[in-house]
Symmetry: C2
Subunit: 387 residues, 2 copies
């Protein structure tokens, strides 16, 4: 470890350069930076004086030093570069990456820096965050659920993390914005790139209610491998990930895999089995790696602090039908005309003495009443369930 | 144990009497019958010379000996009484009841006799059987799924067991009938009672493609406690139970509980979380006691014999996208015009020597081709996935 006192500006400039010189995830470069520090690492990469692993990751772009231009381009759209040396760095969420890396998992690489756009404080707004992700080719059902979940989570003070894609992602962001809450879009391109083009307005809006976040420097265009690399950051920044809809080849399945690998709570929303849009979710549920969630309350319960966020049971809490012999006697009561205790005993198969004991109890429970001809069901207390 | 040689007719007559004298489940009477045998038990019950537990279960109806009339009424509709002494008795399925009873579970009581209607052999057609159950207040989605599952299971040679109710049950029976397969309706009333009335035609049809089965003697009308008592037989006669739709108070949840208590495979079909008809299924899935199933193949896999009925993975089995550096190089290829290896190296961040090595590999995989200006994506081999 080379201990040199460097100003934050120098570090930021060095990391800006490093963030463009290698295509993430670049494990060898990350190790090298951790070893010699970002400023020294940047100088050595520029000079080509690096170990062979780092060389192969940086040789293609090492002459391309756009650090100052990138910082300016970010500033021009209201963005900035966050570095691990900043207070705002999401140290706690990224802990999961460090643990995964220690276990040799590829998804466990912490970014060298993060380009962000918006005024929010990243570390603060990820203290309580849930990712809501899914297919671009979402159904109306999926978009409805994503919007409701985004809205409900944001309303509960939870930041909604997603990937700004068409379909589920967009609906989740919009839900959070509508609730007046916070949302983070983690991009697979520069924070100044309007991708997808149809989400230009959404991407312009998010910085006023959260953050655009990207590992890629300004002007970087998205590519498939960047979506996959990006997905680990969505999983890491959130306490749990809800997959709302996912087809068989949806990238959301990749985010789901990262979520599970990072030890975060993975949730999936059930849907019609007749819909291919839900098939990926059902696969996650069937394999047992995802928990089914059907409401915002269940998502909060599943990701929340024990004892604080327990969901109210959806179970009906009324006292329900009479049980055992009482139920039999109740069923044997006349609907219109009263029956004698003897007739009720034969009909119900409950012995006469017990019938005589139970009838007044049913009367007290407003389930039975005395009629001229005997006992019948009470008019206002009748109980009916779906059998 | 009193060892007396008795003819099958005598046993059948005795059990017919016993099947009406006590309202099932009558544990004390069952124990008494097991102890002294059915013929002796019937005589002692008639005479009122029984232990007090049996007395309380039988005193109300002991004078009501309709055994011969009941057997005649059954015969009149093409029915008969099955007794445990018959070869046709579903000994193997009812084993689960015996185990549950040994564990003190109320749902573990074997019936004293079974009234059946139809020509099929009960023990044979329950060798491979799956129950498909659910709400009476089913949605169009639920009825569609129940029909498809009934059809598919029957087509696979599996008997479809259900409860003949409106909604899910009816759709499951009809699916099996349409497939030309076998189905069993376990009733909460006599086999000669058309309940529900709107299923009269269905109930008349089932005996030609399976069986109506009931623990209750002819003319017995249904009552709520009888549905609950009946549900354990649905669970016991099938290797597993699929709950297609269930609201919060659906009787299907009771069948589900019996299925789990009897150690049988419990399955639930996911549905839209916006549908109250699926809320019971989601509760079962969320609690972890039910396995999600989305197709007939998955039901067969979940209930079937290991290694024989493995479902084909629904996963797409093509080779998928190129991985790692190859994917990056592929993404950096021109779409229309070719790019130089140097440009591809900068764009992809993959070092030049590796780009040069990978391009011919991508060409071999029909993913890249040489153009005049360099390398571009192959026209016919382009790969696109949903990110």
């Amino acid at each position: 470890m080379v201990a040199v006192a460097v100003s934050t500006d120098e570090i930021r400039l060095a990391r800006a350069y490093l963030s463009r010189v290698a295509e993430p995830p670049a494990a060898a470069l990350a190790r090298f930076v951790a070893e010699v520090g970002p400023v020294e690492a940047a100088e050595l990469v520029r000079a080509g004086e690096v170990p062979s692993g780092v060389e192969s990751q940086t040789s293609a772009r090492r002459a391309l030093d756009l650090a100052e231009q990138d910082l300016e381009a970010a500033a021009k759209v209201g963005g900035r570069l966050l570095v691990p040396e900043d207070d705002e760095w999401p140290r706690w969420p990224f802990n999961a990456l460090a643990i995964a890396a220690a276990n040799g998992l590829r998804c466990g690489l912490e970014p060298l820096a993060l380009w962000v756009r918006g005024d929010a404080h990243l570390a603060t707004i990820t203290e309580r965050a849930v990712a809501v992700v899914g297919s671009r080719a979402a159904s109306g059902y999926g978009q409805h659920v994503a919007g409701e979940f985004g809205f409900g989570l944001a309303q509960a003070g939870i930041t909604v993390v997603s990937g700004a894609a068409y379909g589920i992602d967009g609906a989740a962001h919009r839900g959070a914005i509508t609730a007046g809450g916070l949302t983070i879009a983690v991009l697979a391109c520069g924070i100044d790139v309007a991708y997808p083009a149809g989400h230009r307005a959404l991407l312009e809006r998010i910085p006023s209610q959260g953050l655009l976040v990207s590992e890629y420097p300004p002007t970087h265009t998205p590519a498939r491998h960047r979506f996959l690399t990006r997905n680990r950051l969505i999983a890491a920044l959130a306490e749990g990930t809800v997959v709302v809809e996912a087809g068989q080849r949806s990238g959301a399945k990749n985010t789901a895999a990262s979520t599970a690998a990072l030890g975060r709570v993975l949730m999936a929303v059930p849907g019609p089995i007749t819909s291919v849009s839900s098939s990926g979710c059902h696969e996650l549920l069937r394999s047992g790696i995802a928990l089914p969630v059907t409401s915002v309350a269940e998502v909060i319960e599943s990701t929340g602090r024990l004892g604080v966020d327990l969901v109210e049971a959806t179970r009906n809490t009324d006292t329900g039908p009479p049980q055992g012999d009482a139920m039999r006697v109740f069923e044997a009561l006349g609907l219109t005309f009263g029956h004698s205790p003897e007739a009720i005993s034969v009909e119900s198969g409950v012995e006469l003495s017990r019938v005589r004991a139970l009838l007044p109890q049913l009367e007290l429970a407003s389930l039975a009443e005395r009629a001229e001809s005997g006992w019948k069901r009470s008019q206002d207390g009748s109980w009916r369930g779906d059998t």
